[in-house]
Symmetry: C2
């Protein structure tokens, strides 16, 4: 059974998955890169990086994924839909290598990139987008890639089977809250907490596929 998975999704102690004042120059707003330093330090991210528990868990991002769904705020800066030349943050060969479904109220034609990534722009509900992504994934799993509100919407809709959240020991104070509207989420998942010597704590929410 194809599962729906979230990986390497970092939040601050106060539950913010991104900061305030996001822009083309500051994709995570005032949070900068602080939520993701743990991942940038791993061998998963760069040659010569660490190969401990952070690396092992970060790598779970890849295997078995046949398609990704992302929100408009992950695909581009605020206002990208008015820029016909915008092709995402990742250059000509994005790191997805699968079909990617971008949720947007401003659909455009599919965009085929190098390396197997094709962006499909869809104005759809989470359930509808998941149906399309599942079909494209051809039996493999679907990753919900973010940003915060997209992950939250899919979790709230009961569509996520595996949710990996990384709690980073910083207090951001402001930004976009992951947990908003998810009261009693713990009743739907088995939850495991794993600390890393880097200081972050990996939380894994998992349940059997529906």
């Amino acid at each position: 059974m194809s599962r729906t998975r979230v990986h390497n999704f970092s939040v601050s102690l106060d539950g913010f998955g991104t900061g305030e004042r996001q822009s083309r120059e500051a994709p995570f707003g005032h949070a900068g890169e602080r939520l993701h330093e743990w991942m940038f330090a791993t061998r998963f991210w760069k040659p010569g990086g660490s190969d401990g528990v952070d690396d092992a868990i970060a790598r779970e991002h890849e295997p078995g994924i046949g398609a990704e769904i992302m929100g408009a705020g992950k695909y581009g800066y605020p206002g990208w839909h008015e820029d016909p030349d915008w092709t995402g943050w990742w250059g000509p060969n994005p790191p997805f290598h699968t079909p990617v479904f971008v949720l947007t109220h401003h659909p455009r034609a599919p965009l085929e990139m190098e390396g197997g990534t094709t962006f499909h722009f869809v104005d759809a509900s989470p359930a509808e987008a998941l149906d399309a992504a599942r079909e494209a994934a051809d039996g493999l799993d679907v990753r919900i890639g973010g940003g915060v509100t997209t992950v939250r919407d899919f979790v709230a809709a009961g569509l996520v089977d595996h949710l990996h959240v990384v709690v980073v020991p910083i207090v951001l104070g402001r930004g976009v809250r992951l947990w908003y509207g998810l009261e009693a989420l713990e009743q739907e998942y088995a939850i495991e907490a794993t600390p890393s010597p880097s200081g972050v704590t990996h939380l894994t929410f998992s349940r059997s596929s529906g």
Copy 2:
């Protein structure tokens, strides 16, 4: 040097230290006892309880404490100050066994209980209350006992040397937020995360006393 310490302070994943709709019947509101089940399961709390990492860390609550400061919301239910017979939740022999300074806008005469606990009711700022508690502690440490806003106020004022927060894997959705207003707190402390087989994660914020 006398230090100021917070122990066994539990929050949900979304950062709530207590729930909504607190009352005499529900001191933690809709959270019930879910934030504290990890502690109730320990030998620290009851004979025959667990004696693993939760127990070891929970016991740190006691040694070396010469006085406690608590907020009005820990001492009593909303409206207790209009009840002249209210003497706290803990019966005739409260578990403090030291002077306890209750922050309230409605001071009353000190209340001497069995077992060494005396409640002093003070309308004071965090710094003023800490001065009084330090003097009463006679060289020992001062514990900030809660509730949420009291801990937050003392941390925000830079008065806390040791902060033990227990992250419980539940999403409360609403209540009183611990982290509110504490942006960039991580810059003032060394932070350690320790998971427990019970599912909670112990966070220890520490710094040398000022």
